[in-house]
């Protein structure tokens, strides 16, 4: 079957997500874009799983989802803590680790 459409969709989603990470300033929006990139990768994995006819891609996508979930948990906790002390959710303001 012709998987190119699914792959184009995956690439477009990934690019949108990447651009969003680079351009947007709000930390929560950046997280949503990261989720977008992860799910674009999931789409690609499932597509190839379908093409290959085995379930390995789908199992990998489960791994990705779990990783995304953990990452969101930890990341949101950090953002909330930073927001509590700095009153700002902009990633540009959190630049104290510069050398």
């Amino acid at each position: 079957m012709d998987i190119s459409n699914y792959l184009y969709l995956s690439v477009i989603l990934f690019t949108i997500g990447a651009t969003g990470v680079l351009v947007r300033r709000n930390a929560i929006v950046i997280f949503m874009c990261i989720e977008l990139m992860l799910n674009a990768a999931n789409l690609a994995l499932v597509t190839f799983s379908r093409v290959a006819g085995n379930l390995e891609g789908q199992v990998a996508s489960f791994f990705t989802m779990v990783v995304a979930a953990c990452e969101v948990v930890v990341g949101l906790a950090i953002i909330v803590t930073i927001y509590r002390s700095r009153r700002s959710a902009s990633v540009d303001d959190a630049s104290l680790l510069k050398s």
Binding site: V21, L22, V23, R25, V91, D92, S95, K98
Partner: protein, 629 residues
């Protein structure tokens, strides 16, 4: 060749005595000088004994050797610590130990007020040991040990009163000038080894026939350089005047009779080298001629009695060096003059010390005058030395100096006339300045400073002077009678087969000429110094001014060597810091600067980090795609 087991004691006794006196310290103050003098006297006894034994042998088998131990053996270089006593070295051994003993006796009284007298005698013994090693070594390398050893002893003795900064500088100057000469001796030894595979006198003598002329000339030139350093010949002569900073017995022993004659010994010992190279001989006579005039000229303007005698020594050694460059016959006459000079010059130095002792250590002759009545023994012994150095018959110098002038003239052609003329001129100037010394010191008006009461010196000082005066009187005749010394030295210097060329003028004419110029020189001095001012006059001729400044030798040395050397040193210190270490520091600062620049990537902005990650990912993917394709 005969062997002897006594030779080592000639060196070991004074050496151990020296170490003993230095290590014991103040404990030995009461008797140290007695021990040192006895040791030196014992070396004279050993030397005299060996001399007796030598006389009983036939000419070829007079030499004696003693091997001590294997010293260095690397590859084809094999040098043993061995000693050789032959007809040439015995002359020196007797001179060194004999005059040395007399000077030790003299020093007991001369240094009696010095609290460091024991140390003085330790250094004197060290000198005796080193000088004996110099003349007894059987190879150039063994000679070199003694050569540098006398340099060390000279340094220690010139700087004996080194709390005075001028004296400390003088001793350093002497050592460094000697060292320049030592470069010559080192290079000569290296060339010998590269050419002949050996550095022993026997080995080099055997190989000298077949070697290339360039190598022989090189060895000869380097040996001459060494001799110039040790014997204060031009161009390394500037240290001798300053060396008078040492106590007078030192000047008498080292800088008149022995160490400064080491150069003459070296050239005579290497006669097989110089006989094989006319270039080397030419260099030798040029150096000898220049120095004999140089020393004589600067001697005319010296008011310091010791410096005048030092200049005279420089000039007389010039005569000896000149003689050694005049072929096989010259060596014996050089040695003859060396021996007679040892007597009269040491005697005159001891006389000068006696005068200084009586005049409260004053050295300026302008503050002397009329001392003959108050110091009769000194005046007579000094006067006999004076007559000897002038070359008045029948005193010692007449036999030795005239012979040298004769051989110079007989060298043939223009060279002979120039050399002979220079020697004659030197004799005239010598007569002039030595008469000046005599007149200023012993005769004429008394120009003493207030509070001086000159007196004759004690017996321990006058006895050696008297004995040396005997030498001034008789040594010339005794050694030349029947060409005794010439025949004695023949087996060593190979002068027996030399063709006697037609002499330029008969010996009698030479002697009369010499006597004539001497009388003129002496008369000139007597007339000029009828009255002497007690302060050196200011308006004198340019010539005199130049002679006072040692013909500008120190200024030249300063401009040519010291000042550029100091600049170079300072420049190199700066360059080492700025350039070479600067290069090293630059590596460090470059790395620091680079890392400073790169650090700016860590700007703390998350989004730029994300951009970098994305860029890296893209590059990797493209790279994999390209390489895979």
């Amino acid at each position: 060749m005969r062997t002897s087991s006594l030779l080592v004691y000639l060196i070991a006794l004074p050496l151990f005595s020296s170490a003993f006196l230095l290590l014991l310290g103040r404990i030995a103050d009461k008797w140290g000088h007695i021990l040192a003098t006895l040791i030196t006297a014992s070396t004279f006894v050993i030397g005299a004994y060996e001399f007796m034994k030598m006389q009983g042998q036939a000419g070829e088998s007079r030499a004696v050797t003693q091997k001590l131990f294997e010293w260095i053996s690397v590859g084809s270089l094999k040098v043993n610590a061995s000693l050789l006593l032959d007809q040439l070295s015995i002359c020196f051994v007797l001179l060194i130990t004999g005059v040395g003993t007399l000077i030790h006796i003299y020093s007991i009284a001369y240094m009696s007020h010095d609290k460091d007298r024991r140390r003085f005698f330790a250094f004197l013994n060290l000198f005796i040991a080193a000088m004996l090693l110099l003349v007894l070594g059987d190879s150039y390398l063994n000679l070199y040990i003694g050569w540098e050893g006398v340099g060390l002893a000279s340094y220690l003795l010139i700087g004996f009163w080194n709390h005075n900064p001028t004296y400390a500088v003088a001793s350093k100057k002497a050592f460094v000038a000697n060292r320049v000469g030592d470069v010559g001796l080192s290079l000569a030894i290296m060339i010998c080894f590269a050419q002949f595979g050996t550095v022993s006198f026997e080995g080099v003598k055997a190989g000298a026939h077949g070697a290339s002329s360039a190598a022989i000339a090189g060895i000869g030139a380097m040996l001459l350089l060494a001799a110039c350093g040790k014997s204060a010949q031009f161009p390394l002569q500037s240290w001798l005047g300053d060396a008078m900073a040492g106590p007078t017995p030192v000047s008498a022993l080292i800088h008149a009779a022995t160490m400064v004659t080491a150069g003459v010994y070296l050239i005579s010992r290497s006669n097989f080298i110089f006989d094989a190279s006319s270039t080397a001989r030419l260099l030798v006579v040029i150096v000898g001629a220049i120095t004999l005039l140089f020393g004589a000229i600067i001697g005319t303007a010296k008011d310091d009695i010791k410096k005048a005698l030092a200049a005279s020594t420089m000039s007389q050694i010039g005569y000896m060096i000149l003689a050694t460059g005049l072929g096989p016959v010259g060596y014996a006459f050089a040695i003859l003059h060396l021996l007679t000079h040892g007597f009269f010059k040491a005697g005159m130095f001891l006389g000068a010390g006696s005068v200084m002792h009586g005049m409260d250590d004053e050295v300026n002759m302008r503050k002397y005058g009329g001392l003959a009545k108050l110091m009769p023994i000194t005046a007579v012994t000094f006067g006999l030395g004076y007559l000897a150095i002038l070359g008045v018959p029948p005193f010692a110098g007449f036999y030795s100096k005239d012979k040298i002038i004769e051989v110079a003239f007989n060298a043939g052609g223009l060279k002979g006339i120039l050399l002979g003329g220079a020697a004659l001129l030197g004799a005239a100037i010598t007569a002039f300045y030595m008469t000046r010394v005599m007149v200023m010191t012993f005769i004429g008006a008394r120009r003493w400073k207030a509070g001086s009461h000159p007196h004759e010196s004690p017996i321990l000082m006058t006895l050696p002077m008297i004995l040396l005066a005997f030498g001034s009187v008789a040594s010339g005749f005794l050694l030349s009678n029947g060409s005794a010394l010439v025949h004695w030295l023949e087996p060593v210097v190979n002068s027996q087969n030399v063709e006697e060329g037609k002499p330029l003028m008969p010996a009698l004419v030479v002697s009369l000429l010499a006597l004539g110029v001497v009388v003129i020189g002496a008369a000139f001095a007597i007339i000029k110094y009828r009255t002497v001012s007690d302060v050196a006059p200011e308006n004198v001729s340019e010539f005199t001014k130049a002679a006072r400044k040692d013909l500008y030798q120190d200024i030249l040395n300063d401009r040519l060597l010291v000042a550029p050397g100091t600049l170079l040193t300072a420049g190199l210190v700066r360059a080492d810091d700025r350039v070479i270490d600067g290069g090293v520091r630059f590596v460090g600062s470059f790395l620091g600067a680079t890392s400073d620049a790169l650090r700016k990537v860590q700007n703390g902005f998350v989004r730029s980090y994300a951009l970098l990650m994305l860029a890296g990912l893209v590059i990797t993917v493209i790279a994999v795609w390209v390489i895979g394709a």
